[in-house]
């Protein structure tokens, strides 16, 4: 059997395992196995590729792979669960850069315009993924400001960049071996990644990360066309499809279109003229304890604030004490709570909260009327009843968790500052709402102390 045939067969096995792995990732009980199967698929693919006759020197490969493995393992072990969104963004960027480099190295004398075009795509998508992910990483890790960054003439600069990209696509595809064109394409791709992500605010990051995730797959796909490798296309498009679906889910959860999320930085936030009546009523941790002690059903709704305060372990402790007190505790998770899809679930899993207690929005809302106390921890826009009742509110129409339907609502919050959308939250002014001001972790430990006495 010749080597090429053997490699081909290995690729088929590998593709089958990738698909099986993704399928198993669809259920919490089998997900870990699915991830390992997917990793095995990757291992088979890499080992088979090393047999390729074009590879004549293994020294540099060995060094690069060893270094990459050490760095990858180190980061994966060290990263805190709260820092997961920025880490995914960072890894994503590296994958994009790798596709860009493969695209560049695939350039040879005498290639036709079609290959030139696929190389162009692989450089473009890879470059956008790289710088876009780096900016997302900066925003998520707070090395950059989280709010939208805007400057005068941004729309013009973006339009010109896109126009230049279209022109360079035609010119580059025609003569890919011209290095000047190559540099222009690389520069444009890198610049566009930055331009596309800086006007997007922190709370829209779940959409951006999902989209960049999709791009990294599509970049691998384009590289697959450029070097004629079918496994790159299969794996790349699986990732591309998964990223697109997550993007759609995130957009739907915010009742916004993708273009609205990507371009909203360009339109100023509408000032709502609607007024909110009522007054904000604060409550002390001790009084809150009396209410909690008497409650039999308690719903906890976490948001990004829980991640910031690193309060997930305290939440779990509170849950256990409440359960000891014969109360039922459930969690309500909004799809866009936090900074990436499923962010809250991972944090609560870290604190050992069992996943069958985490209810999605559609499952917790019908139960809300029977909830005695809803505790909102560091969430704001995702529990804002204005999205349901106040036509004209910037988030009107966004599906939210209806905590205001619970008998009593406790809101843990640092101060009265408004959420990302820059709008007041009528929830804070409702008759059945009590505010627990201060650091969420502090407040939780006070409650825990009261309860354990």
């Amino acid at each position: 059997m010749n080597t090429t045939l053997f490699i081909g067969i290995c690729y088929v096995i590998s593709a089958a395992l990738f698909i099986l792995g993704l399928k198993l990732l669809g259920s919490p009980a089998t997900a870990r196995k699915g991830n390992i199967i997917s990793a095995v698929a990757m291992l088979i693919a890499v080992l088979a590729t090393l047999l390729d006759q074009h590879i004549i020197d293994y020294r540099y490969i060995a060094v690069s792979m060893a270094a990459g493995s050490v760095i990858g393992l180190y980061i994966a072990r060290k990263v805190a669960m709260t820092a997961m969104p920025e880490m995914v963004a960072l890894f994503n960027g590296l994958g994009g850069m790798a596709s860009l480099l493969v695209g560049v190295a695939a350039i040879e004398i005498g290639i036709n315009a079609f290959i030139g075009f696929t190389i162009f795509l692989s450089i473009l998508i890879g470059g956008v993924t790289f710088t876009g992910s780096l900016i997302a990483w900066g925003k998520l890790s707070e090395n950059l400001v989280g709010r939208p960054i805007m400057f005068k003439g941004q729309a013009v600069v973006n339009s010109v960049t896109i126009l230049l990209m279209v022109i360079s696509c035609v010119v580059f595809s025609g003569s890919p071996e011209n290095t000047t064109y190559l540099y222009v394409v690389i520069a444009l791709a890198l610049a566009f990644g930055v331009l596309a992500v800086i006007p997007i605010g922190g709370a829209d990051m779940p959409v951006v990360i999902s989209l960049l995730n999709s791009y990294s797959g599509l970049a691998a796909c384009a590289a697959g066309f450029a070097i004629n490798n079918n496994l790159l296309i299969v794996a790349g498009s699986l990732v591309g499809a998964s990223g697109i679906i997550l993007t759609q889910i995130m957009c739907k959860a915010m009742n916004r279109s993708l273009s609205n999320v990507l371009l909203s930085g360009f339109s100023a936030v509408k000032n709502s003229t609607l007024t909110i009546e009522g007054e904000v009523k604060a409550i002390s941790a001790q009084d809150a304890y009396y209410v909690l002690e008497a409650a039999s059903t308690i719903a906890i709704i976490p948001g990004y604030g829980m991640a910031v305060a690193q309060a997930q372990h305290a939440v779990k402790e509170l849950q256990e004490l409440l359960e000891k007190n014969d109360a039922e505790v459930i969690y309500g998770i909004h799809p866009v709570a936090g900074r990436m899809p499923g962010h809250m679930n991972v944090l609560l899993a870290e604190a050992d909260v069992s996943y069958d207690l985490l209810l999605e929005m559609d499952h917790i809302n019908p139960r809300m009327e029977n909830v005695d106390v809803a505790i909102v921890i560091g969430a704001n826009d995702v529990v804002n009843p204005a999205a349901r009742d106040m036509e004209g509110s910037p988030i009107y129409g966004m599906p939210v968790i209806n905590v205001d339907k619970a008998r009593t609502v406790f809101v843990m919050k640092r101060s009265m500052a408004s959420g990302f959308a820059g709008i007041d939250n009528p929830l804070f002014f409702k008759d059945n709402t009590r505010m627990l001001f201060g650091d969420a972790k502090e407040t939780l430990s006070q409650l825990i102390r009261e309860l354990s006495n």
Binding site: R32, M42, F91, A98, I233
Partner: protein, 97 residues
């Protein structure tokens, strides 16, 4: 050119398959799903390997290839390792007691 038609065929089928597979993933698993698919996107490693090992003299392309191998390996190894770490924490009621 036929090879590209064939590759486009693969592309079309894989995208449909991807949509079908991912649509069923529950929200609880979205973060691990994302980091696992992130690791899969490091498949570019295969292309990088062929480029990095093509010559024994360290010319420009070899250096580019090695850089790509390095980055893609970080992406793949780190992605799978961190996904495993996350998934190890997911427990249901029975398991956590």
């Amino acid at each position: 050119m036929e090879i590209y038609v064939f590759l486009a065929f693969i592309l079309m089928l894989s995208i449909y398959l991807g949509f079908e597979l991912i649509n069923k993933v529950p929200a609880t698993l979205h973060t691990p799903l994302m980091s696992a698919s992130n690791a899969i996107s490091g498949i570019t490693l295969l292309g990088a390997l062929i480029i990095a090992g093509r010559t024994s003299s360290p010319e420009l392309k070899t250096i580019i290839g090695c850089a790509a191998v390095l980055l893609a390996t970080i992406n793949v190894i780190g992605g799978y390792a961190v996904t495993d770490r996350m998934l190890a924490m997911f427990k249901n009621k029975k398991e956590s007691k």
